[in-house]
């Protein structure tokens, strides 16, 4: 309206100046409105008013399998359990996994189990803000109420630590959290972890772990420019991991060609030893040391079964007899904690 009135009453110079001014003002107005809409856009669903009784042992096992402990504990710096993890350098900024001990100020001591469930399964904070997807909550969307109750019970056993982790170091526009709502709309999917008829129990268990808790795709699948998983390159490896490191492909045909079978893959997840005698390096070694080495033999075999037979045919070909090169040996995530962070 301002522009129209000026165009009618002002001379040609002023009209041009008005246009130039408008070119600055108009986008700012649109951006402001957009930001307001994003800020007001509600996300997340209401969690159940009550949860079943939790089992701390089961929860602790799930926490270990899900990478909670490895990500939120700075093992290299000999940090206290779950008091904050090692910083994670990404193209979007540096993220620091926060203190999630039960401390009331520095940790999550004031949370309810509903807050906890919403954070883990939905990636939404108690304030309603979306978490950065560096926290791999999307893989946990299939956790049941019982899973959440078990995790909650386990987390409540952890000694409180009264020192908060440093804040993330993320520049604009990524510091605008509400903008993540667009990311969620574009990329947030629920993992396929339900049991499939006609497939074996180990295969289904493997699918639950690989696609869910263990979140293998978080590192072994490439990312789009916006940081979403590249669905067209699932498990095809990722050359652009945080810190400039790489994750090799873990497609079944690649694994088989490299000499992996169920037995030696399960053994590698327990021991860190590869078929050619090498040992995992980088953060895959950390994944084994802080994660998969704590799993049961059955779960490690289940993971291997699923990765080597993703279609669930029940027929896993014999691996190549002589491993020439082992794909995961070169996995270098030396600047990265393999787990998750928010």
């Amino acid at each position: 309206m301002l522009f129209l009135s000026c165009a009618v009453s002002c001379g040609p110079e002023l009209t041009m100046r008005g246009l130039i001014r408008l070119s600055f003002v108009f986008p700012a107005i649109v951006a402001g409105i957009g930001a307001g809409v994003l800020a007001l856009w509600p996300i997340g669903e209401v969690e159940p008013a009550s949860f079943p009784s939790g089992d701390a042992e089961r929860g602790a096992y799930l926490a270990r399998a899900s990478g909670c402990v490895s990500c939120h504990t700075s093992s290299a710096a000999k940090g206290l359990a779950l008091a904050g993890g090692a910083p994670l350098d990404t193209p979007f900024g540096t993220f620091v996994p926060p203190n999630i001990t039960p401390h009331r100020e520095a940790g999550i001591g004031q949370w309810t189990v509903q807050d906890f469930a919403k954070a883990v399964r939905q990636g939404v904070s108690p304030d309603g803000d979306p978490y950065y997807p560096v926290f791999t909550y999307s893989f946990y969307a299939g956790f049941t109420d019982q899973d959440i109750a078990d995790l909650w019970e386990a987390f409540r056993t952890v000694p409180a630590v009264g020192v908060a982790a440093p804040p993330h170091d993320v520049g604009f526009p990524f510091s605008f959290r509400s903008g993540l709502k667009l990311w969620r709309a574009a990329y947030l999917d629920t993992p396929e972890t339900d049991a499939l008829m006609g497939t074996s129990s180990p295969w289904n268990r493997g699918r639950q772990l690989v696609e869910g808790a263990a979140h293998c795709a978080a590192c072994h699948t490439g990312r789009t420019l916006a940081g979403g998983l590249d669905d067209g390159a699932r498990f095809a490896g990722n050359d652009s991991l945080p810190g400039g490191s790489k994750a090799p492909p873990i497609l079944s045909d690649v694994l088989l060609a490299k000499g992996w079978g169920v037995a030696n893959l399960a053994y590698a997840l327990q021991s860190g030893i590869l078929p050619n005698g090498d040992a995992f390096g980088g953060s895959m070694a950390e994944v084994v040391a802080e994660g998969t080495s704590f799993l049961s033999d059955a779960d490690r075999e289940a993971i291997a079964t699923y990765l080597l037979d993703p279609e669930g045919t029940g027929d896993i070909p014999a691996p190549a007899p002589t491993p020439i090169e082992t794909p995961m040996a070169g996995m270098d995530h030396s600047q990265m904690d393999m787990g998750n962070g928010n």
Binding site: D55, A56, E57, R58, A60, Y61, L62, A63, R64, A65, V69, T73, A76, L80, A81, L82, T144, Q146, D147, A154, F155, T157, T193, A195, S201, N204, R205, Q208, G212, A263, N264, Y267, S271, G272, I273, N276, G277, D278, A279, F280, G281, G282, S283, A285, E286, V288, A289, E290, S293, F294, L295, S296, A298, D299, A329, G330, M331, D332, H333, S334
Partner: protein, 213 residues
């Protein structure tokens, strides 16, 4: 006669490995330590199936292999890492010299475990769990996502990462803790010692080896 064959095969393998490594462009001390690492890797590859029980256990091969690892560990390994020797093709990370004490401790730990395995090879493998034990630890929860911690034997505190780390965790991670080495390691089962060796390798690689392009 068996020893001669083993030696000849090891020598041939080392020669092939040396040629292969030379083609990577490594020279000097970097090539020397790559040769050492390759020899240890090949030994681990030979012993791992025995430790898993997928090939028959051979006391002699285990003992000889452990000696090979020991000969490349400890002071021998450390002498091949002069400060900031990162020239040319190398997977070594600068953190080696930034945290030399940790690196040296892991190297000495590797030698201690390997020396012990060379002596303890006749101990053989730990007996497998009895069916009754396995039933007690089975997960009867169907498709429950959580599985159960029972088969692994870890406590809640261990799984959540607090409290005193049990020996099992220390071994899984590789320790660089000298008190662990004060035990009489030669009384341990061969696969226990082998697990300690592999955990030490993995722990060292996690901290001090860069990935490959």
């Amino acid at each position: 006669m068996k020893s001669q064959w083993t030696g000849a095969i090891a020598l041939a393998a080392s020669a092939v490995a040396a040629v292969a490594l030379a083609h990577t462009g490594a020279t000097g001390v970097v090539l020397d330590r790559m040769n050492g690492m390759t020899a240890m890797r090949d030994t681990i590859a030979e012993l791992a199936p025995m430790m898993q029980g997928t090939v028959p256990y051979d006391t002699f091969i285990v003992s000889e292999g452990a000696s090979v690892i020991a000969s490349h560990a400890g002071g021998t390994m450390l002498s091949l890492f002069p400060e900031n020797s990162l020239e040319g093709v190398t997977y070594a990370k600068p953190e080696i010299w930034a945290d030399w004490q940790e690196f040296a401790a892991l190297s000495e730990e590797l030698k201690a475990y390997a020396d012990a395995l060379a002596e303890a090879a006749p101990n053989g493998l730990e007996p497998a769990s009895s069916p009754a034990d396995e039933m007690a630890g089975m997960d009867h929860s169907g498709m429950d996502m959580t599985g159960t911690s029972q088969p692994t034997g870890f406590t809640v505190a261990e799984l959540m990462g607090y409290g005193a780390a049990s020996e099992k965790i220390a071994v899984t991670r590789g320790t660089s803790d000298p008190t662990i080495l004060e035990l009489d390691l030669t009384t341990l089962a061969a696969d226990d010692l082998f697990n300690r060796i592999s955990a030490t390798c993995s722990s060292c690689h996690a901290q001090f080896r860069a990935g490959r392009n």
